[in-house]
Subunit: 251 residues, 8 copies
């Protein structure tokens, strides 16, 4: 930001920019206001990731409108999360989408080539955690990460977890996804020495209280390398894992 | 109870028992009323276990009074739980007690000889769970069970758990005690095929909410053989484990 | 497990097993990976019980797939829990099932002959608790236990409970199932001297908060022999009761 | 109130009361403002009960001040609840009080002669509930009720409850006081056919959550005649029971 | 109960009752077991009220079955609560019912003539609380009470409450029904000197959390004569109010 | 009120008003009782605002009935909130309404001309908060306020918030509406020096717990000028903002 | 801010400000960094209020350090909230403070002359709410508001509230402070037509859950003009009330 | 682990290792059992970090015992967290410690030289969050990271946050620490494009509910790159940040 202001100020000093224009520029909004949404067009540049449309609570028309605006601005890779089948059908009549009904995600354009530090392992406690896991997996993939899926490796059958020690030990980042008691995060956190992102899911009944049980479990993990995102937030976990997996490109 | 009533009725029929006496007998209270407490004197016979005084919320004088009454009625083995050091000092001036400050339990008389089906394994997630574990262990011991202690085998260091597979696989009953995320119960429940009694503890901070996190975890355990008692209820777990471990003596 | 590794090592020493094969064997997964699920084929041997498919969150196709795999591996007795009518209709077109719409459980194959220590009493507070009770009862039955049903014996009509003192006193294990205030567990726990598994149910309204009231009640039971499973978890209670009722076969 | 206004209006009409005085009278505050408290001096007349000072959060000086004001206004019977020993010592240096350290209540003046419909039974689940029970009992007594105390009759020892069927069946009102799982209210509510006031107490630990467990239990009671007051609110229960026990004096 | 046993014993003594018959009689269940429900046929005698069928969670067939059994046993007045329109239509094809769709209650037979101490006032905070209020009102009416309805007198328009001071001051018992912040109970409790039964309702949104807000409010009422029943429990409130309103018939 | 009573009393004194009439007048209800609702007809005068019908839990017939009564009493501007499409269609067949399906509000008559101190800014964190925001906006507008909408200015894109510093700095009152973590209220509260009314919304999933997360956030705001209304209570926020924005008309 | 940047840019254009200096100026922090705190020195100008030091969690030395810095920068009126007696004694050895032990607030310098629109009424439900009320009152006073205290006017004694109708009706803003069930806010909100700021307090016990009961009550108030601040947040309420009471100085 | 087993197996094959020794080796515990704790001596090698002793719930003697064992095994850098002053004084009599009373952490040995990818920024919302922040900072430092502290940059004074845009934009990882409403995490998460670890703190009062408010806020953050650890868990945040900051050393 410094550089931008500096250039602007240099322009003011040498007369090539008027004070009014400078003022205007400083206040110019780096987004387009669609009325119902303010779409940030510079985020890709600023954050180095594909653009994301959080589909929950948006009408099909709104999603299409946002997608088109992004496309017009040169965005070639967009992820839509929490997209209903109805929204998919409406939008795909106009724009080509790769839709996954399990995770309710759609990808416009292509996934980036994997260019991260290593592989992101996505492990789930059970079969029912798969929608969340696939949301995470597709988020990782569109952002240029290699993904290894380890589904249904819950701790009640520890041999199923241990059978994948190789993948766990060699992962760059691990996303541990579980409902019910959420113990998977602690076990994997204890076995591995890479950052572990834990995702509690709303899978369960009774005293799982919509994922609260798994959430509290993961927050209280006795394994030290575990941080947690919101219940069922596969996208968030994938996004963070991707950021971590691209750490070497920073410095 | 049928038998008692039948005898009574036979006595009434043959005139050896008056109607008034029979009525009285039926209503006779099988306990002594100390004013502040009603002490059940037949429980030992009825339930085959040592008598227990729940020390919390009782004054040293009350504990001593109850203990003496039990002693007078022939009870030779009494467990006092949640007994403060002050209460211990007061009571032990009068009656000989084996007091353990860690678990705050006192034993009057002697422990029964171990006569259960097998060994009760008591496992804890961490060092801080030991007070609860010792309350369970001493409860088991006074009720005639052999106990094997596996402390600090939390799941974040799974090799510490697995190092004790022999004990776990050969246990008759397992008491799994853990605070924080309470994952120990699920891991042990998955490894073993005996009944597992899970005890959440209030060990932890922040989002452990006084043991709530471990409690919910254990209730939602994906391992099928796990049942749960109240937070920090080492006595209850030991008591149930002992009942189960003496099952073969029933039929 | 020791024995297995010992044999393997002996094979390595005497040359009958190559090092590569031994390594492979140790890592060989004792389950079949169906993609959406990892099915443990040795559990029957290891835990001595019928196999169970937790139907919630699985598609009819997935349930059928798992069932067939089990059948192919010689499993002759499978319990499917939380199975929707739709899933039942789909699966039963291919495989013969004994389906109970009340408890939403299906049994493939036959129940084991009762060979437990004694009878498992299943008591409910009210009529509305019956679906959970039947899930427990059928779980007990497929695992080889005699079951005695005492339904609608809630504590507000104590004479209904007391009318069944004989069954309660002679039970091997009792499963006490109640919603609302869940007092049944305490009353039965006080009357009986066998292990009591308490199941809170979501029956109730308002401040029952989906079973939380009964759950807390049961966890705080003043009766000492009561342990608790998750809200509405009839299967879990039946499974644990069966384990306890087969204790004498251990040593 | 109609009568008061009517008299005032008649006075206005016949000239014996000026308009200004009438206005003033209507607005005249039926309490004395001590700055820190507004003491209602007519409550005794209006509600037919002894005056009560809720001692919690009041300094000894404030309690003394209020007591004196009441005394000056002819109040001859005052109950102070939640009074610390310090406050008692300060106030009793000036005014004679009958102080009970267990319930932390003090009575100034004398209790009314019992003149209610019948006897109020006060039952507790355990010994530790006695402070709350005595607060209720003394409230009942100062308001002119005969009280029958049944302490430590918790449902885990049902014979102790049943031994007192006579008292329970003949009670006019029953106050059922219990912590932990609070099942006492349901059992007594089922046995009796008089109004039952349930008081949850904070006795317990772990998942009793400071009385929440007993509170929810009592609110969800399957017995129909049970209403509930706040946790540890012995005074409130006694006050309501007394109102009910004096019903016949209404019409 | 004493009398019954005494007579039995006298019969045994004089030989008119055999021991076996006496034993049988003592254990004879004072209810009919329909399989899905155990119907108490003596409750009417024992508790002096019309019989009640709690309709929630019962099928139309079950309700009809219970109703018929009651009718066969001479019960001439039955209240069915929480009865769906479907259940009503099914049952009313066979038995004549007075159904109120607002409160979802049905009355079989006739209401008792009002014979209570006085009038029961039923007040609600708003229009939306009417279903709960009508459940209470019809419960009161079938049990022989005169009812005065004061609906929509919430405290935000205090003049609406005060306009009914006459009814409030002359009530025998008041049922105060409110959702949202539930302040009505405190205001009425302060204005009146009769017992007040407070019923929190689930009316509201957001932080009313399904009635929790009103429930806590009412439990914490600063007015002393208020006791509380479960959220939306109009029946319970009516039942208790009726018990209190018939107090003078006891002694 | 004094004046009214004074006039009445003067009438009584000079004989122009009988005592009975005076009594009656004092008790006369300043509302019309429709049975299901008591409609306050003087509120407009007393509070200087348009009349409001809270549509939730009212039938279309009831809404129409209330609206007509208001109209008959000269009310020319009525706001109906939480009005379903069905209710709108029913009522609009009889009375002309300006209905907004997004906020589910209807306006009868016309909005007052803006006559407040300044502009009320309504800001939302995201697109999904718009229904609540429009309920607030239309409430403000019918009560005579100029409204400036700033939608989708959530803090994750701080430049979008900062781009509107001018509007924020010059607002008379700000309504900050956000779900999820509700941070918007704190950021705006820190930037602005006018009163800020925060509205948590139920937008979010998982650990947002129906708006609880945003609600707690806003209550704990580290910015000092923020007060909070109920979750999704756009009407309440608009109503309060309008009151504040008309402050200068008071003195 | 526009003006500042404009001036800076004009300076750059006319050469009187170098680009480096302009950059620096833009980034210059309008606060002093004390290491443990960043003290905003321009807030007074920006927000027109006295400076406030939130004393909780600050050492006496830190409070003194911040106070001195403010004093050096010309601040002549500072409020310290949540100041322990120890902190007061330490600081007052160096700087003159007007300390109130009840509210634990200290005022440095003098209160502004009252210059608001009208009077701020501060009402409490009970005596125990006074510490919070005085924190609010002193906050109002230092910010130039006239305050009218109405303490102990809780709704259980409605005549005490109504006795102050004059003050309530003529208030400019009302702060309604109550613990327990918090009904005061609704009653006052219904009686008055000015903005009402509700402050729940932690006064109460049992199911008041540290103020949660009053908080929920106030958020769910059926009176429309009520907004809420955090439990025990007297300062916040006073601050907001003062902002509202100075509205006319804006335009 | 493969390698270890392979070597073992090769030893068995070539006869240099007996089968018994191989079995023993496989089961040999890679920790020392102190009775109260099982100390993992290989963790340093396995996870590349300094050893940590979680001091809470451990006696000074236990901490000293563990520290000595680690020292004997060549560990030259140990962090003790949650160490009371008493424990510090006891241990430092024997071993040299660098103790920080604010964060209650002690460092034995020296911090590693910073060798991470970049700088870890640790930002707090307020002064009171410093103990948690310093626990995080010292954890980062002992694990070889450069730390930049930004304390008291809460969002209510946004200019204080923005003044540090340079540090925020150039951070490798950011730890955002805040109590109350926890909005700092969202604001920083929106400004930055590196991984953000959010730490809710228990700073606050009333509706902060011991950190629950901040915890929920952070879990619901609308900024995508934020993951969360337990309340007050400064150590955990520092540990994870260090893992991430050392990512480039993996591949």
């Amino acid at each position: 930001m410094d550089n931008d202001i500096r250039k602007l100020l240099e322009g003011v000093r040498d007369g090539s920019v008027s004070i009014e224009d400078a003022l205007l520029e400083i206040k110019k909004e780096p987004f387009v206001d669609l009325g119902f949404a303010k779409i940030d067009l510079h985020r890709k540049v600023r954050q180095g990731v594909a653009e994301v449309i959080f589909g929950a609570g948006k009408t099909p028309e709104q999603i299409l409108g946002i997608l088109r605006l992004m496309k017009q601005n040169g965005q070639d890779s967009v992820l839509v999360t929490r997209m209903s089948k109805e929204a998919y059908e409406f939008v795909s009549a106009e724009e080509e989408l790769d839709y996954d009904p399990l995770s309710r995600t759609a990808i416009f354009g292509k996934c980036h080539e994997p260019d991260g530090i290593g592989t992101i392992v996505i492990a789930t406690g059970g079969t029912s955690d798969m929608p969340v896991a696939e949301e995470a997996a597709r988020t990782c993939e569109i952002m240029g990460n290699e993904v290894c899926r380890l589904y249904d490796v819950g701790v009640a059958g520890l041999h199923r977890t241990l059978a994948h020690m190789d993948e766990i030990m060699s992962a760059s980042v691990i996303i541990a996804i579980a409902g019910m008691e959420g113990a998977l995060a602690s076990v994997i956190g204890g076995l591995s020495d890479c950052p572990v992102i834990a995702v509690p899911t709303s899978v369960g009944y009774g005293a799982s209280f919509g994922g609260l049980s798994a959430l509290l479990s993961m927050l209280n993990s006795c394994a030290s390398g575990v941080s947690v995102v919101n219940i069922d937030n596969g996208f968030g976990a994938g996004y963070i894992a991707s950021r971590i997996n691209h750490m070497e490109t920073r410095s």
